[in-house]
Symmetry: C2
């Protein structure tokens, strides 16, 4: 009775996400989407209702994938502070094609849509808040495990980490001096590790 959809919804959403991430909401036309999704306008609208809805779903997918990366940290027993620092160092390497070394799609969306679509702006805001909450959860766990000094405000430190992450991804996009970027990442890691319970006092 129900015919299987001949398009792969997940694959289509992932392709849309990449396109939107790169070109932004306004900068992406339906022609662009038709090409990338290999779907005609009618199919796109049947499947995703509107360009804005499709963007919203793409943003959600992007967010969920980032959330998964953070959650997986908490499930392993690897040192948490080291793992957080590794994110920064990875951005510092600025490897070609590493998605973490491109500006965050949520941040891009927030900036782009702040006078275009209130819905997308709010969605971005919510995601950023959820992300910082997830970082805080990692830091709380690190405190439980005795990796992080007990007297630090994890909420505050989470915001600091998110700020560093965002700024570093931006710098990776701007900088043409690998040394500067790498050292910037190291400075941020050093700052983070000043709260490590394991570290020797200076």
């Amino acid at each position: 009775m129900v015919r299987a959809a001949p398009y792969n919804r997940v694959a289509a959403l992932e392709a849309a996400t990449q396109l939107f991430w790169e070109k932004g909401y306004v900068g992406t036309s339906l022609k662009d989407l038709e090409n990338v999704l290999s779907m005609k306008p009618g199919s796109i609208y049947a499947a995703f209702k509107s360009k804005e809805d499709l963007f919203s779903m793409s943003l959600e997918l992007y967010f969920e994938q980032n959330l998964v990366a953070l959650r997986s940290l908490q499930e392993s027993d690897a040192p948490l502070l080291t793992a957080l620092g590794a994110f920064l160092l990875r951005i510092g390497e600025n490897a070609e094609g590493d998605p973490l070394c491109r500006p965050c799609m949520v941040v891009k969306t927030l900036l782009e849509t702040s006078s275009i679509s209130e819905d997308l702006t709010n969605q971005s805001r919510i995601y950023l808040n959820e992300m910082v909450g997830e970082i805080k959860a990692v830091l709380d766990l690190a405190q439980e495990r005795g990796e992080l000094v007990a007297d630090v405000n994890t909420s505050q430190l989470a915001h600091r980490f998110q700020a560093n992450l965002t700024a570093l991804r931006l710098e990776a996009h701007v900088s043409d001096q690998p040394d500067i970027l790498r050292q910037l990442a190291r400075d941020m890691v050093e700052e983070l590790e000043r709260y490590s319970a394991q570290k020797q006092t200076l």
Copy 2:
């Protein structure tokens, strides 16, 4: 012989800058510009050649104004590190209508135009590099004056400051928790003042 232009070029450019800053390049239509500049399309094109050129001039104006603010620091004899920190603390207050508490137009442009206009992207990149150079100049002067410890890499610290500034302006745009934002600003100031030559050792 030459009739005085009945439009005020500087005022028009400033109005265009505000509009572009808020709505972005793609998000601003010529209709929007006509309204804000009180000019008909023909006049706009006679005066500014194209939408992209007008945007470019607006971005330049924005940049020059920011540059002036930094240069003026070097001409006064007020403590430089304190003055730099004051920028951060001002963002931390997130006062309604304070332009410093809105995301940087250059950063917005860089993110928005990276797949739209190579020219505007390059222009943004250049401005960000000039800004960080100007921050470095302030830090170098601070070293000369003995305000800043001698062994710190001012180029590196300048990049760190710029990253903090950018991230903080972004956070001011996202956050609905004044306390968090204020504390974030204070953390950044504290980090900066660890390089103060005047400060007492911990």
